[in-house]
């Protein structure tokens, strides 16, 4: 046997490689896990070392003649699951990739403050989950929604969506895609974040208090709409309307509209045609009520059969400690496995902020809660969504266990 023959032998032996059971994202996730384990072991070693040495200064840094070392543990940012995802790939137990039958509806999942809902395209699924710790995520209690359980598996092409999700134990993220893995890191599903529906920023003034201004600017045109309106946005953040390329919003820090620009595309690029903004000194419309947030009143034992419950409603803005008269609840049964309940209170021009009083209100749904989550509808308000009232639960006040 010479060298060429040996090369041919090697080529023959490796002619049919077995497909890898690992995804690229699993490398990153496993690397992070190992790093974490290493730092945990180091931390444990430091603690054990201090105990053996009879020192307590690690636990009481103030008593130490020397400052205690600041041990920084480089944990990676947790993966943000919350929100809507669209399923792009689902594998069966052997790792073969396939897509679900998307004839009726695109397969999707929504992670919403511990409540998971989804649609396979053929049937709905629901379940709960604990927020992921590192790369661990357990979806073992995901199940088909009872009303859809009668649909046979034959009705859907591809592997059974709900059964595959039950095997999920790890998650990883690669290029903005979410990968769900089995215990052995085999990829079960790949998800892409669904685009959130665009909501145009609202002006903080009534329509009659808005003033349009035409722009007659020197050329040339700019390569993008943002660059065209940039000099007239007074440093505000710019937001594009994905459905209308001829409108650009300049928004204030509180999310309200500062100016709405009209732009047009000419042969040499984008030109600003004009904008609309609130008149100088225009007041917020007095008729608009203020939002109020709520929480379940203590001492209640809600079940899926409950049809009413008591809540404590509090004005979210400053008003010298007074919540005021609470509106009737606005109840939206909507879709997606949740019931949205919203309250408002009369408009206030502000006041000191000692914390407003809580007003007890009874909410009557008129039907059982079922396996749906109770959500504070004001948490979908852009001004409140990122406040402590709505995070990290995203406004979920109760979910069936």
């Amino acid at each position: 046997m010479n060298e060429t023959e040996l090369h041919n032998v090697f080529v023959t032996l490796t002619r049919n490689p077995a497909p890898s059971r690992y995804g690229v994202g699993s490398v990153r996730a496993a690397s992070t896990r190992r790093k974490r384990q290493k730092w945990s072991a180091l931390g444990a070693a430091v603690v054990i070392g201090s105990l053996i040495a009879g020192t307590t200064w690690l636990f009481n840094p103030g008593d130490s003649p020397n400052p205690a070392p600041n041990i920084l543990v480089p944990f990676n940012e947790p993966i943000d699951l919350e929100g809507d995802w669209v399923l792009t790939t689902l594998t069966d137990a052997t790792g073969d990739k396939s897509l679900m039958d998307a004839k009726k509806q695109a397969p999707s999942l929504r992670f919403d403050g511990g409540v998971l809902t989804g649609n396979s395209g053929c049937f709905k699924i629901a379940g709960t989950y604990e927020p992921p710790t590192g790369d661990r995520l357990d979806l073992s209690n995901v199940r088909r929604v009872p009303s859809d359980a009668s649909i046979g598996e034959d009705a859907c092409a591809g592997p059974p969506f709900d059964k595959r999700l039950k095997d999920v134990r790890h998650i990883s993220e690669a290029d903005g895609k979410l990968q769900l893995h089995a215990e052995n890191w085999m990829i079960i599903a790949v998800l892409e974040r669904a685009d959130a529906p665009f909501t145009a920023p609202a002006f903080p003034c009534s329509e009659s208090d808005r003033q349009p201004t035409d722009l007659d600017v020197p050329g040339p045109g700019q390569p993008t709409p943002e660059k065209a309106v940039g000099p007239y946005a007074d440093g505000r953040q710019l937001v594009l309307d994905p459905s209308n390329p001829n409108v650009v919003y300049a928004v204030n820090a509180d999310g309200s509209a500062y100016r709405t620009f009209r732009v047009s595309r000419q042969t040499d690029g984008w030109w600003p045609d004009g904008y609309t903004q609130c008149r100088e000194g225009a007041a917020r419309p007095s008729g608009d009520p203020d939002p109020a947030i709520w929480e379940l009143a203590p001492g209640q034992n809600l079940t899926a059969d409950s049809t009413e419950f008591d809540v404590l409603v509090t004005r979210s803005g400053c008003n010298s400690g007074v919540t005021g008269d609470v509106s009737e609840p606005v109840i939206d049964f909507g879709t997606g496995g949740k019931i949205s309940v919203s309250f408002t209170v009369p408009h206030s021009d502000g006041g000191s902020c000692p914390g407003n009083d809580a007003v007890r209100v009874t909410v009557r749904l008129g039907e059982p809660i079922g396996y749906r989550a109770l959500v504070d509808g004001q948490c979908s308000n852009t001004n409140l969504a990122t406040t402590a009232f709505c995070t990290p639960s995203r406004g979920v006040r109760w979910a069936a266990q």
């Binding site: 046997m1 040996l6 090369h7 080529v11 032996l13 490796t14 490398v27 690669a174 290029d175």
Partner: protein, 164 residues
């Protein structure tokens, strides 16, 4: 920066995983084990990927890491082959020639096998093979020669009738 590193890494893995798997398979004779070893090599390399990529072609580093993992794996007491009184159930061989060649290759001592695979499968020069196996050029030449002799002797001493 992290995302750029991630996408570079992802792309490299996408294009080179199978090649690494094949090298590992020739070293260990098992596709699943080869897959695990490649995964281990990738996990070890990921944290220092930026440095590896900045130094040029990542392939030599990856090959070196992989070969070391394969050799280390063979050294682990729990992984060594043990004799057994019973015959274990195996997947039926679809190609006797294939099994025969694979078995013969696994009979070659690990160090010599690594040199043969790197030189005649991965196409590395003597110098590159020496760097990958962290030995001298002379050692690579002697290991290569001895490995070929061992392989020839195994293939010659095995009668054709035994293959079936």
């Amino acid at each position: 920066m992290g995302s750029s590193r991630d996408s570079d890494f992802d792309e490299w893995v996408l294009h080179n995983r199978v090649r690494l798997q094949k090298t590992a398979f020739l070293m260990c004779g098992d596709w699943h084990l080869a897959d695990d070893l490649v995964q281990d090599a990738l996990i070890k390399s990921f944290p220092k990927w930026q440095r590896i990529a900045n130094a040029g072609d990542p392939a030599p580093f990856m090959r070196k890491t992989l070969i070391r993992l394969c050799v280390d794996h063979g050294r682990r007491p729990s992984r060594r082959e043990v004799t057994s009184a019973t015959i274990r159930e195996t997947v039926p061989a679809s190609d006797p020639d294939f099994d025969h060649l694979l078995h013969a290759l696994q009979e070659v001592p690990t160090g010599q096998r690594a040199v043969l695979i790197l030189r005649y499968f991965d196409g590395l020069s003597v110098e590159e093979t020496a760097a990958a196996t962290r030995t001298s050029v002379g050692n690579v030449k002697s290991q290569s020669s001895r490995g070929m002799d061992v392989l020839r002797s195994i293939l010659v001493t095995t009668p054709e009738s035994d293959k079936a």
